[in-house]
Symmetry: C2
Subunit: 138 residues, 2 copies
DNA sequence: AATACAATGCAACATTGTTGCAAAATATTG
DNA sequence: CAATATTTTGCAACAATGTTGCATTGTATT
């Protein structure tokens, strides 16, 4: 597991630092998506807030994690699958936010449906966010 | 048009105030969705920021406007259709955000597809946000 | 017009995110 | 391995966005 972390950083030409190792580890062990807030707390005040912001930004740029749009003003992040790299994301799965426990799930096996738009609109990305109750809170 | 505004407020049992009239008017004339920022500027510094926040919150609760999840941490709001009322929203249309001009459109005639989830998940709401280029920026 | 009720403005605070820059850590080179 | 070049970090300062309590003002009701 620890090797996976270092491998991932190297594969993406990132230097190996404590914060990057720790934050990547948090994502690997996380059940759902993480917000900046979660990372700041789960890392035990080990790193500066700014470092966390910059690390998340770097990970998104490298295609290690992806963002999930929300209506509650706090961006969530989750691990990408292997085929995301260097700004080219291929996360075409549906996201689920539980109204009860707040957990955000990547439903990797539920692909986003194709939506046909009126003439003149060009599609770059389609995000599907479903809210409701998760299997734990049902 | 002015009568529509007062009617809408009365229908929702809201008292008629300057800020509510003005903000509702902005939505009626707006082409796309509005963020708090837009309203603060378009209303010409006429109302306190707090008043705008509270008015938006009230309008959402009453089913006059609905929120649109975004990936950029600034909630957008847009007018609901007539069948939304008192917390029960029926906005099952797709939203589009232009990468170029930033305009957020309610595609009222594009309904969100039904997505079937794994066992144990219950759906309350499905949001579809598509990004790309709009017909003006194509 | 008098009263009851609700909305507003202000101040103060909380949260989230950004930028510049010196210090520290990491990677590279000989 | 040590010296150097390059990156990353932490700090400070700031900006944007959102929330709460409370006195004042405005709206609705009688
Ligand atoms: Mn995901
Ligand atoms: Mn809409
Ligand atoms: Zn849950
Ligand atoms: Zn556009």
């Amino acid at each position: 597991m620890h090797q996976t972390i270092i491998d991932t950083l190297k594969r993406n030409q990132l230097s190996i630092t404590d914060s990057r190792k720790k934050i990547l580890e948090l994502f690997l062990h996380a059940k759902g998506a993480l917000a900046h807030f979660d990372i700041e707390h789960q890392s035990g005040a080990e790193f500066d807030r700014v470092t966390i912001y910059r690390t998340l930004q770097t990970f998104v740029e490298k295609g290690i994690i992806h963002t999930i749009p929300t209506a509650d003003n706090s961006i969530r992040y989750a691990l990408c699958k292997d085929d995301c790299a260097n700004g080219h994301h291929h996360d075409d799965h549906v996201h689920f936010m539980c109204d009860d426990c707040g957990t955000t799930y990547c439903l990797d096996h539920v692909t986003v449906p194709q939506v046909s738009l009126p003439n003149g609109f060009t599609v770059t990305q389609t995000d599907v966010i479903i809210s409701g109750k998760c299997m734990k809170c049902a």
